[in-house]
Symmetry: C2
Subunit: 169 residues, 2 copies
DNA sequence: AGGAGTTAGTTATACCAAATAATTATCTGG
DNA sequence: CCAGATAATTATTTGGTATAACTAACTCCT
């Protein structure tokens, strides 16, 4: 029933879902989601960076990034201070607590990568990363949105719900 | 700013997004989304199949599949008939119009795959598919959901500055 | 034959991620 | 100094997914 396995798009989607689930599971004990982990990591490696920088690096719109950063601050994992050089922006740093949590997260994440290596091997993992990197460089034309459906489910149905666009993070 | 490229999860996510966008774009002239394309393809290759079969094959919950199938039927691309052998289910088939559209979609999709090959080459594409297949076989423990944020934004945030956001509990 | 339990399809609902637009405060370049 | 750009925030909308409940029809078991 699934001759789709021969399509790159489908295979990518499947693999992405599995890997994401595994990483989510790995970080769950820390009450950290993958995106939160990467935010901590980026701040750690770029002390004093700003919300705009981090969100841009992750491809997240700054508006949607506010709640994420506010949560991490609320958990005392990061600190936000008015930037000296630019009063509009905040400079972000990890708190000692954030650094400690990141340390534990990195261990869990390396166990996750170890599972990946268990599936495909050390050398093939590097090969995969190279291939994915090349794929990601395919020129992206501006995403044209298609209406969820051309015809209402039921003409008389008030708000026919249900959508069919895939992709999740 | 992105040392994340060395992580399989991140690289997968990026590549998946780009490839999905390219396929979406490719199918846009037909007002077909990737998932609709795959539904048509599966029905074409499994004439008389049911909604449950198709939705299960695609990993979509049957409840969320209703609107998708209703739309395709509304566009006269598929036909739904009460199954003879099981009056609960519908048997699905493409209409001539659906078959014609699928044909055009397949051409556009093969152009899409050609672009993929343009990025990584014919042989490497097969290699990639094999690697992704192995990744997808990583045992998935039941996805443990983590709350989007542990500390919800204040409900009455009319005059709430960022620093006022509270730690819930 | 007949009821218990199951399955196909449907509806309604809730949740969450992402996109958009508008606002305020601040910076920068001519 | 002012016009325009930028950082952060808020509110809102949209789209995908998950869940529960319901109806109708099937299966199995005795």
């Amino acid at each position: 029933m699934t001759p789709l396995v021969g399509y790159v798009g489908y295979a990518l989607r499947r693999a992405q879902g599995v890997i994401f689930a595994d990483l989510s599971q790995a970080l769950a004990p820390l009450i950290l989601r993958p995106v939160q982990f990467t935010v901590l990591l980026l701040i750690d490696q770029n002390p004093g960076t700003t919300q705009s920088c981090v969100s841009a690096a992750l491809g997240i719109q700054k508006a949607n990034f506010v709640a994420t950063i506010a949560d991490l601050e609320g958990r005392a994992l990061i600190r936000r201070r008015k930037s000296e050089s630019d009063a509009r922006s905040y400079s972000l740093n990890l708190t000692p607590r954030g650094r400690a949590l990141l340390q534990r997260a990195l261990e869990l994440q390396s166990q996750h990568e170890a599972r990946v290596i268990g599936q495909i091997g050390l050398e093939e993992r590097l090969h995969l990363l190279a291939l994915l990197h090349r794929l990601a460089q395919l020129p992206v034309t501006e995403p044209v949105k298609i209406a969820a459906r051309s015809h209402p489910v039921r003409p008389d149905s008030e708000h026919a719900a249900a959508k069919d666009w895939q992709v999740a993070g």
